[in-house]
Amino acid sequence: MPIKIVGVTNCPAGIAHTYMAAEALETEAKKRGYQIKIETQGSIGVENRLSPKDIEEADYVILALGRGLSDDERARFADKRVLYVDISEVLKNPAEIIENLEKRAVKFENINATHQNQVTTGNTKRSVGVFGHLMNGVSFMIPFVTAGGILLAISTALVGGGKTSPGSFAFLLENVGVIGFQLMIPILAGYVAFSIADKPALAPAMIGAWLANQRDVLGTKGGAGFLGAIAVGLLVGYFVQQLKSLKFPKTMQALMSFLIIPAVTTLLISILVFYILGPIISGIMFSINSFLNSLSTVSKIIVCIVIGMMIVFDMGGPINKAAYLFSLGMVEQGNALFFGTVAITNVIPPVALGLATLLRPDLFKPDEIANGKSAVVVGLFGITEPAIPYAVNDPLAVIGAQMIAASAAAIVGVLFGVTRIAPGAGILDPIIGIAKPALGYYTALAIGILINVALVILFKSIRKKKNSGLFVNS
């Protein structure tokens, strides 16, 4: 009787390793004349599933796992001689695994305890970090601001900047717009918490953040705004995550996620917000806001330069997001100047780089030239991503040029008082009415792009001259 082996392979993505490991084990086993059957748990689903009979007849079981195995699935192999390995070990040396199977495979009940931790560490797909949770909240919040902001802009345009009269269409749009803005706060907090601890955290965070933004209830001068929303979202999220990890009697468990956790957490966060968090954060927000509003033009320019440079520095990375979030948060506080800077500077890098490839193709790689035209078009509509490959290929020249250009554009923007009240679509912003004044927006943008194009070409030519005679492509 030949030796019979069964096994399971899986990996985090379930695209490649699962099948490579299966193939490697099968090849090695067949070389030695063994019988082998491997169940692959990939993204196609489970294939070649092991039947109870297969497992029954098998001498050895190989579990080559990249993302663990549930208790139920492991129970299938009770009392068998099992070898647990990381899937990468199989890829490294499949022959060694098959050869030493007899020595290394152990009875199932023994490995149950020792491999418990290994199985749980395989489940770390949700470890996204605080920043990831924040971005999840922001991505849910943005549609509210966009929808609200555009309707608000239409309403303002309808009445020519004056007051809307109750009952009119402009009045309706104005109020709907305001609702969108008010909802952005609880949505931000709710989905930050949701990202950390799922459904039970959503309600307490939304309620808590809404409360933190009600200055009438808190008796403060202003609401806690987006800072309050972030604080509430994170607090509630991590608190609920802790609560969920506590062991409760079975009878209570069913009630935990939809009744006990939301109710208890809402009560606690409300008390915290009302007595401590609300007053403190709304105080901070109020002073930031009045400070920013009291700034002289020169100081406003400095703040906007910093924002502009942050926006173009890592194009979509954490620094960009921090500046974006701050500026958007200030819109909710009634100060749209900073978001105006964001509106201008966001567009500059891809458009400028695309234009530069058209003007001086000799300074760019073939891929960069191929991408140039689409970078201009896509970039004009406010999508910065096409600029990233250029920055990756030549960070110093590209990022340096666009930071200087963004500073210049920010200055012009402040001088014209360019504001934007909602996330938009690049050069369409003044047309749909969310960015104003149109002349200022386009002037600042044009100046920024011009400077950026000129500097990128300049920096790259200097580099090229220096490198001429040397091996350039390194």
Binding site: P12, A13, I15, A16, H17, T18, Y19, M20, A22, E23, A24, T27, T40, G42, S43, I44, G66, S88, L91, K92, G316, K365, D367, A370, N371, E385, P386, I388, P389, V392, N473
Partner: protein, 157 residues
Amino acid sequence: MESLILHDIINENLIKLSLEGLTRDEVIYELTDLLYQNGIISSKEIFVKEVKKRENLCTTGIGMGIAIPHGKCSCVIKPAVAFGRSTLGISWDTMDGNPVHMVFLLAVSESGAGNQHLQLLAMLSRKLMHDDFRKGLMAAKDKTQLLSMFKSIFRKS
């Protein structure tokens, strides 16, 4: 029928006979660019992020000069592979410590759509474990030869 699907997954536009990049990230960007230009993915930035996230979980440099970075994300319009070779070698944190000479960048959509395509990727992955297949890929003179190697995926080994 099968060769039609194969053409969806890999074709001459998705092949680079000689990669320019010398590091893992450079090559990931280089091949991502091919995917983007051929309408496989809708965002380079998101896709690269996804690929790097997977790479940081555990390297896909499986040794034998091969790396199979992959990204599964909603930015993938249809599943496909970009393939690139490098005679110089690419520095990559691989399982056997040797540099990488062949990179398969797999793009898979979140929805799990295109089951046949996934099957094909699975078959390709299996095929890569065989010595002669790898040698053949490295020795192929042009894209036509490479594509006919890929066609052999369908023949039972």
